[in-house]
Point group: C2
Chain length 167, copies 2
């Protein structure tokens, strides 16, 4: 099996699973930085921790390498405008022109996000084009009546309206 076949199948596989949309943010030297991410995973409940995979060529990598904290904002369907603003690009502060952002523990937190998971960086590991950042939670908030913003096969969907899967 050739490397290109593997890559094509891998890309297709990843496009056809549900991806929750996260805004990963940090603050550094008085500036705010953030990206949309889907490569986020819970890691352990003891200690409460998660990981995010950050592209080393992306705009968040240098700020997050220079600080020890970040926030994973779990976006809800009501935060679609924030997702669209982040997706348009723009640097640093431009991305925070839409949304009810507040500062908490030195990082930007979206007050209306479905969940806010503020982390202290516990470990970094570089692999390929990305760095895995392990964060230990130092603050967390979850809003009831969640409707997570979910991306599947190139479009945003409302999974709370999905029917139960019948065995």
């Amino acid at each position: 099996m050739g490397q290109n076949d593997i890559l094509d199948a891998f890309r297709s596989a990843m496009r056809h699973v549900a991806a929750t949309v996260y805004a990963v943010t940090t603050g550094h030297d008085g500036e705010r930085f953030g990206i949309l991410a889907t490569a986020v995973s819970s890691l352990s409940f003891d200690p409460p921790s998660l990981l995010v995979c950050i592209n080393r060529a992306g705009s968040l990598h240098e700020p997050i390498a220079s600080t020890d904290r970040f926030c994973v904002n779990v976006l809800g369907v009501g935060n679609r405008d924030v997702a669209d603003c982040f997706a348009r690009g723009g640097t640093g502060e431009e991305r925070f022109s839409i949304g009810d952002w507040v500062e908490e523990q030195g990082v930007p937190v979206l007050a209306s996000a479905q969940s806010s998971l503020v982390c202290r960086i516990a470990h970094r590991h570089a692999f390929g084009t990305h760095t895995i950042i392990i964060g230990e939670l130092i603050a967390a908030r979850h809003r009831e009546n969640a409707k997570p913003l979910t991306y599947y096969d190139g479009r945003y969907i409302d999974i709370t309206e999905a029917p139960d899967q019948q065995p």
Copy 2:
């Protein structure tokens, strides 16, 4: 904010995002092992790689620590019987009594899975109760007309029937 509050909010946050259901499998000493997992993330396309977070107290940890390969089987809605069989527990071979399992590169691959991502282990990193396993893809297959088995808020849903999210 207390540690219990953080943990409660973290658990609620994770329960209210879409989780694709993966069967992570390996072979060791002629035996097959596998678990259901949701803590899987793509990592890099260069080289094609992903990571899985494995509980060190779980049945897959020792086998996967003793080998250098594993498979991430992305389950589709048609594999619900396999998910249910894995979820019932049982050790080793019992979990493979249901499903069209074949051997490929020394690991169990579910022929009817939505996608099969066979990996060579490139790195392991222990954190908290879990070990992060980084796998570099050595074979990958994706079936068209995907309908990923997705878990959300305690139930299986069919996300391909979810309506588009309206901005």
